[in-house]
Symmetry: C2
Subunit: 469 residues, 2 copies
């Protein structure tokens, strides 16, 4: 499937001199093998690859500086690559260039438990980080489902299941080390919890999708592992009842840690994939963090709210094993869902609206997809007003993709009317550039373009993403 490319994007060939310089420094860590290039020109989006011209495996900030300086000199694109789990075509080499793979920069540099901070290299994945932190009684809450790299999560302003209580990468990145498009190493932020010192470069890089520089270190906030954790599932007759329950929970100010919706299709998919026996109806999967007493209090409040909306089969998972089983199933939901239609690819949506508008946002979207006949499933970080509908399409049938794109566009237009956003956590990439203009307006996107031109005048950093220049 071809990505909706800007027709002005043309391949910018890599001069031989640059390839030679890369080979001289990196040896086998620089490759032009097609299979590797294709793997690096792809993400979880439904688009076919335009592969990069070369893949370089960086092992240090100095490696990154070397590559970016060379690319700057030769005006060749650089596309930072972490775990390859982005969803909007972020990694596609639409103008060729170097895929700069930072997955080997995977050292946890400094855990400062006494300050609840950690500094990591960008290739550290969130599971790796949490495995390391667990024995110190700490955790990093941002959990987008996939075992994404921390650098990639910062670059896409990721969030996921815990954001309702702990915030997103926006709130949890304290500082960065970045290689600028000129190949200069700079730092932003510090280990202090807050700062008013100058422009917030940290939050400008967070969410910039690799278009303003290469993230080479990330300093994060950590949290103490809660004294008590308890997960619960609750089934509902309708998606609407589950959503109304969520709205009431949030409006009551219950400090719920996770509040996830799975529709009937998603529950069926995870039952099949993970061999579970969950009731195949719309479901909320929730988690509570706090003291023993606090968790019990939250859970009781939520159970009462759910009952008001016809919630049934309220079931607890208090042992770590039960909880892990449920959340693993939730994390498999995307892959499980794809298996419902063999050979399919998914067009996924990512709108996020104010919580009071969530029912309208979901209900109308369900009505439209049901009318279209396209298979789909819904998973949602509904505590934030964010949900994903995945339209399962046959890549050989252009009409199915057109239908999915039409439904997606209708959903975004509705989310914007409801004062929400086209993307809660996946970013813009190639796929949502038109939606960004609809949402932010030409004037605000013009400001973004001005920032990009000022920081990357030769447009070498992940060109063609977020907006057309």
């Amino acid at each position: 499937m071809n990505a909706p490319l800007n027709p002005q994007l043309v391949h910018r060939p890599m001069p031989d001199a640059m390839l030679e310089a890369l080979r001289e420094r990196f040896g086998e860590r620089c490759s032009t093998a097609l299979a590797l290039r294709e793997q690096h020109g792809r993400d979880e989006s439904p688009f076919d690859v335009p592969p990069p011209d070369a893949v370089v495996f960086a092992e240090s900030s100095e490696d990154v500086v070397f590559v970016v300086r060379l690319a700057h000199e030769h005006r060749v694109p650089v596309i930072p690559y972490g775990a390859g789990t982005s969803l909007e075509g972020h990694l596609l080499a639409v103008q060729g260039g170097v895929s700069l793979d930072v997955s080997r920069m995977n050292r946890i540099l400094q855990v400062q438990a006494e300050d609840l901070t950690v500094t990591v290299q960008p290739g550290v994945t969130r599971n790796q980080l949490n495995n390391e932190l667990r024995h110190q009684g700490l955790f990093f809450p941002i959990d987008p489902g996939a075992d994404a790299s921390i650098g990639g999560m910062a670059a896409t302003r990721a969030s996921g299941t815990n954001a309702v209580r702990y915030g997103t990468m926006r709130e949890n990145v304290l500082g960065l080390q970045v290689v600028t498009p000129q190949g200069e190493l700079i730092r932003s932020g510090s280990r202090a919890r807050k700062s008013s010192a100058g422009y917030d470069l940290t939050r400008l890089f967070v969410g910039s999708e690799g278009t303003l520089g290469v993230i080479t270190e990330v300093t994060l906030r950590l949290f103490p592992l809660p004294e008590a954790v308890s997960a619960a599932v609750c089934s509902f007759e309708t998606v609407d009842a589950a959503v109304q329950t969520t709205i009431a929970i949030i409006q009551m100010g219950v400090p719920i840690a996770r509040c996830e919706l799975l529709d009937t299709h998603a529950v069926r998919a995870v039952n099949r994939h993970d061999k579970l026996q969950l009731r195949e109806s719309p479901m909320l999967l929730m988690e509570f963090h706090g003291s023993e007493a606090g968790v019990a209090e939250q859970a009781q409040t939520v159970q009462e709210i759910a009952r008001d909306f016809g919630g049934t089969d309220f079931a607890w998972a208090t042992t770590p094993e039960e909880r892990t089983r449920l959340w693993t199933a939730r994390h498999h939901a995307y892959l499980s869902g794809l298996q419902m239609k063999p050979g399919c690819r998914a067009v996924t949506t990512d709108t996020c609206v104010p919580i009071s508008r969530l029912a309208e946002s979901i209900n109308e979207s369900v009505r439209e997809v049901e009318a279209s006949g396209l298979p789909y499933f819904i998973v949602g970080h509904v505590g934030d007003g964010n949900f994903h509908m995945a339209y399962l399409i046959d890549p050989a049938l252009p009409a199915e993709r057109e239908t999915a794109e039409r439904l997606s566009a209708q959903m975004v237009a509705r989310a914007l009317r409801l004062e929400g956003t086209c993307s809660g956590e996946h970013g813009i990439g190639l796929h949502k550039q038109g939606f960004l203009i609809d949402e932010a307006g030409e004037g605000a996107v013009a400001q973004m373009r001005a920032l990009k031109r000022a920081m990357d005048p030769h447009n070498i950093m992940n060109p063609g993403k977020v907006f057309a220049l």
Copy 2:
């Protein structure tokens, strides 16, 4: 006292044509009266005014657009003015121009209780907002002490006493309407809780100190008024014991809402000013928010920790009246402290460090100021690692100012060694530009300058602040 001005800053006279155009549109809302101009060229910093050439009172976004377009055309500086409570010389008209007073843009446009959001004009003050919200069971937690305007708080990335639990303006501004330096009205963000849609313009404007545009609307996150609130004071033999208590509270993960330090001098000052009988020794003033049971649990944990560090005279204030009396005294601490040395002005510091470094940061600073003989007092948002030392100086004695500036520089250098920041919440303004370079490095400040030049090529928005161009 003269501000440490960049010698390249020269007055940019306002052409008669511009003044005439302003008078024609604004009538009496445009003034060149010296007293009014001087009042608008001053803030809470110790610097003498360079007054603006004119003051314009805007009453709408359209008024702001009109002024900025005219200023753009004539290349004349525009300095947004809210409540005049900034502390680092932000409002001084170092190149002349128009002080654009938005204090009459003080309407609360839309409270959406069901989404915990509100949209306000920039001149709304935090007390005005909370008075309006209270009867709806909601509050806006950011509390810098002064009754600052919301627009000004966004522009300086303010925080204050509640930030330890609720975050700062960085975390609590969801969206903005801004007039760009070209006079175009743009929006950033939305009412959704999170978004990955493009560059984070919201957080670029938050903390930009009026140098990138004029904020004309702010959409904020709100919180439900807690079911239970309880405040407590606890006295300690030494500042160090109070700080060690704070460090332990934060490291235990107690969700304390406020954790404020007052040193002996500050307690004595508020006793005198507010007619209180607090024990005149270092004190923590704390507040707990939650359910009845949750607050009791937090308070018990904290009381046990405090006892370990020799805390005494633990006293509760559970009625709203008692709490208000204590917090009012805290909010008066700055003015109360100034009255300890009649006719003095204060040089204030604002470092913020990782919590484990706080004791070193404070203890060394106390040692140095005691050695200098300069009167001082300390108030601190110590739960965040942030504290303010106010050096009380006689404006007629340059040697006292030099001593204060030397002590301040030593404190900042130490905070940076301890991986902290020169400014937790007051911003850079005129006063801390050298410190910003020390902290961020020339490379990062060069990126900030590039952003400023891209967005404001004629340097009309609050020129001379944050950094020299």
